[in-house]
Symmetry: C3
Subunit: 161 residues, 3 copies
């Protein structure tokens, strides 16, 4: 078991099953694509295998919408799903030497502009586990709809050793 896996365990973080939402397409579609010392990670939502853990749209303080705190939790769960895919693709998360770039899409109600807060759910977890090597460029945008009715989908570029 790797050092990063140790840190996950120390924090009580358990990885979900690897994303299966498009498993029937697995022959054409990679959750992680490795190109030398760079790994490109497909967008992931708050999933456990094929099960959607949180769905809906974020729009604080209005009935029928998720609060931004629930959005933050969805981004945190998306990070765990990304880690499950990286571990499956690479064997151990220790091969992820640094995080370079994260792009987060948040499904939002009109007028909701707190998508950066939502995306902190992803970045906080990565920073907690990787420390300074977990610092990354980050963008957050608010969109109309996301696959599976997910409130958040995050793609990433990581450095590999």
């Amino acid at each position: 078991m790797g050092e990063i896996e140790d840190r996950l365990q120390q924090r009580g973080l358990v990885l979900p099953a690897v994303l299966e939402g498009r498993s029937e397409r697995a022959v054409i579609y990679d959750l992680v694509c490795v190109a030398g010392d760079v790994g490109y990670v497909s967008a992931h939502g708050p999933m456990d295998g094929s099960r959607v853990l949180i769905n809906g749209k974020v729009g604080d303080h209005r009935a029928g919408w998720l609060s931004q705190e629930v959005g933050y939790e969805a981004a945190r769960l998306a990070a765990l799903s990304v880690l499950a895919s990286l571990q499956a693709a690479l064997g151990t998360l220790d091969r992820v030497s640094a995080w370079l770039k994260v792009l987060g899409f948040v499904s939002v109600a009109p007028e909701f502009t707190g998508m950066s807060f939502v995306m902190n759910g992803f970045s906080d977890l990565i920073h907690d586990v990787w420390g300074d090597r977990g610092r990354h460029a980050s963008s957050a945008v608010g969109v109309t709809e996301l696959p599976f009715g997910s409130p958040v989908q995050v793609e990433a570029v990581v450095a590999l050793n």
Copy 2:
């Protein structure tokens, strides 16, 4: 003629004219930007030169919206437009040694969440022509509006030899 061009011909796939929608801006804007062994491809829609082949928004089972099958076809045509730009920039598609990452934006009706199905139109074609080297990380999101009223726009990162 390259090996990839042979495969296109065997499949009866004819590339459209190179995207011209922003040709007046050509001095500042590259359809493909080469950086060593990586190529960054600007977003392309279902275009033949300056002609929009499919426009509208995807929202299955409702009047006035495109079906997801038409969205799939639009993504397939976007792939052919990307190939036309890569061929023009690189001389031959054989220089594309692998596909790394694809990001697809689908212009959608509210409640439509089948954007991953739509994006398979792009990925299926790439996988059919490049085989395993055509496997790539892929993200799909649903947005409000796209240039030219296009139902889909896809950008890509490819490995070059």
Copy 3:
């Protein structure tokens, strides 16, 4: 002072204060993440430090929306904010040897499809200052909402020396 800084001065371009909108998160979030000879730049809007210079959504010819010319100016200001972050991260803008890829999100009214025109505000400035080394792949999409109520947010990938 570097050569690029000279060019900015010759054109009367003054960089804004470095983006501070998420400064309380600075420990986990990088405006620029350097990975060897590639720099990943987080999305920036038309900001001067923590001050939003232009907000609203773009939707030409309708009351209550920004014109596409104001959108163009917002994208130009976003470019200056990106340059401020690159200068702060790298010491001098001369370390940016080429621009590779730009992805622009424009907050739009329904039916507005001129997001490519808006994004030219970013690309024109970069090309004016860097010349041919400023040519880059570019994508533009129209989204629902952006952080700070910004009309435009642009992320970038640059080559470093």
